[in-house]
């Protein structure tokens, strides 16, 4: 379980300190898939960085399994949007995936790397350098690197934001399958409403400045979900409608901002 209570974050800005988040309360249970939505600049990434121990909270309490978070906690791995800067270009795919588990002995390490590569379907590209792969494949390498750690919690910061629509759909389904298999808790930051509704058990929408959670929504759609049938269901469309409204859109009105 990873959670924050009454969380406040203030960051230095060009014209003095800026309040990014205030009073945020979020609890993610074991095995849950929770999405954090918000318009750009709403503090989604900041919230994720605090949960991942990469950013100090200015106020409130952040904890993982009862222990306060100060620095990246054990068993919690963040996956970043910019895979190109997150992977080490001088290491092959296999050695990138092994980066976090090199303390283990060789046979154990090999087993885990193979397992992680299988989950993302990249076993046959293991000896390539990442920069020779497509963007979608590189992001799968980063996900495999996180999975090789056998994390309890995956924190994903717009992981599919830089990918084209078709690649995105296939990675969403792969992520669903992996989560089903491993039971990993996922906190997923995105600005894509469809993606959030499609993937999540529960989602929260950040709004306001400083931001707080404006809408909490359960997504009681049965799994496994699929790109066509799920997205045609009335309850999916109704949830999608509610989220757009929470983000400030109105029916019959064009998006702005």
């Amino acid at each position: 379980m990873i959670s924050c209570d009454d969380l406040a974050v203030t960051l230095p800005g060009a014209t003095g300190p800026v309040d990014i988040l205030r009073g945020v309360r979020l609890t993610v249970e074991k095995g849950e898939f929770v999405s954090v939505l918000g318009t750009s600049g709403s503090g989604k990434t900041t919230l994720l960085r605090v949960l991942g121990g990469l950013q100090q909270a200015t106020g409130g309490r952040v904890s993982c399994d009862g222990a306060d978070i100060a620095g990246p906690p054990d068993g919690v791995v963040t996956v970043f949007q910019d895979y190109a800067h997150s992977l080490l270009p001088w290491r092959t795919v296999r050695r990138n995936v092994a980066l976090g588990i090199e303390k283990l002995d060789r046979s154990e390490r090999d087993v885990r790397v193979d397992e992680a590569l299988d989950m993302v379907g990249l076993r046959d590209r293991a000896n390539e350098y990442p920069w020779r792969l497509s963007g979608g494949m590189q992001q799968r390498v980063q996900i495999a690197r996180a999975l090789a750690m056998r994390p309890r919690v995956l924190l994903m910061d717009e992981p599919f934001g830089a990918l084209d629509a078709m690649t995105k759909a296939s990675l969403q389904d792969q992520l669903q399958a992996v989560q089903e298999l491993t039971g990993t808790t996922v906190v997923f930051v995105t600005h894509d409403v469809e993606e959030a509704v499609y993937l999540s058990d529960r989602l929260v929408v950040l709004s306001g400045s400083p931001a707080n959670i404006g809408l909490r929504l359960d997504v009681p759609i049965a799994r496994p979900r699929d790109q066509i049938a799920t997205k045609e269901r009335a309850d999916y469309l109704e949830l999608r409608h509610q989220v757009y409204e929470a983000l400030g859109h109105r029916v019959g009105e064009r998006a702005h901002g």
Binding site: L54, F80, S86, R91, L99, G100, Y129
Partner: protein, 254 residues
Amino acid sequence: MGRRLNIVGAAVFVLGLGLWELVVRTGVLTFSYLPPPSDVAVGLGELFGSGELATALGHTLFAALTGWAIAAVLGVVAGSVLGLVRPVWTYAMASLEALRALPIVAFVPVAVLLYGFSVQTEIMVSCYAALWPILLNTVNGMRTEARMVESGRVLRLSPAAVLWKIRLPAATATIVVGLRLGLTTSLVLTLVAEMVGNPAGLGFLLVEKGQALQPGQMFAAVFVIGVTGIVLNGLVMGAARLAFRGQLASAGEA
């Protein structure tokens, strides 16, 4: 880099040599001491036969490479500290900028005064010359992509592991550039030190043959110096490719 022999380029070079031979032989160019390439080849043979060449080349290589090797260790270690520890950089920056702007040649007479006409003078000068490119490239190389370091942190790497597995490999291609630049400048400055300071090595051979009015041998010494530079650079590049294949390949250098 292409592995194939550049035939057109080689042909132009040979043609140039032929033209040089021609204009000197036919008297179009009438310098008293400009030898045609054939005389240079003869001079090279004489230097080689008398053993002067081997002694001089050995001396120069020893001085230049010793200085360079010391500079490589000092430069990479000091450059890493300067690049990684912000306060050290802040304190040292002004001094470094001032020293760097000082032309290295100006340092040669100083070294001669301090160390006399000795091989130490050459090593000091060679080391000082190589230190700058190696140091500054290492400092630059240590400005690792923040996200890469963060990736190490989320994978629970210790600070030592982040340095060893992420920062240093990320800096390798830049450091190798510094090592190559450093080698070139250390060879040049070693030769200068031999010309004005310690009477030994290829630099002194060059001056000596000039003063003895033996242009064939003098040009032969110039030729050997040129080839030495090319071979040394090739060796460093080859060694770096062997040792750091992945790092250089990802930087587009392999």
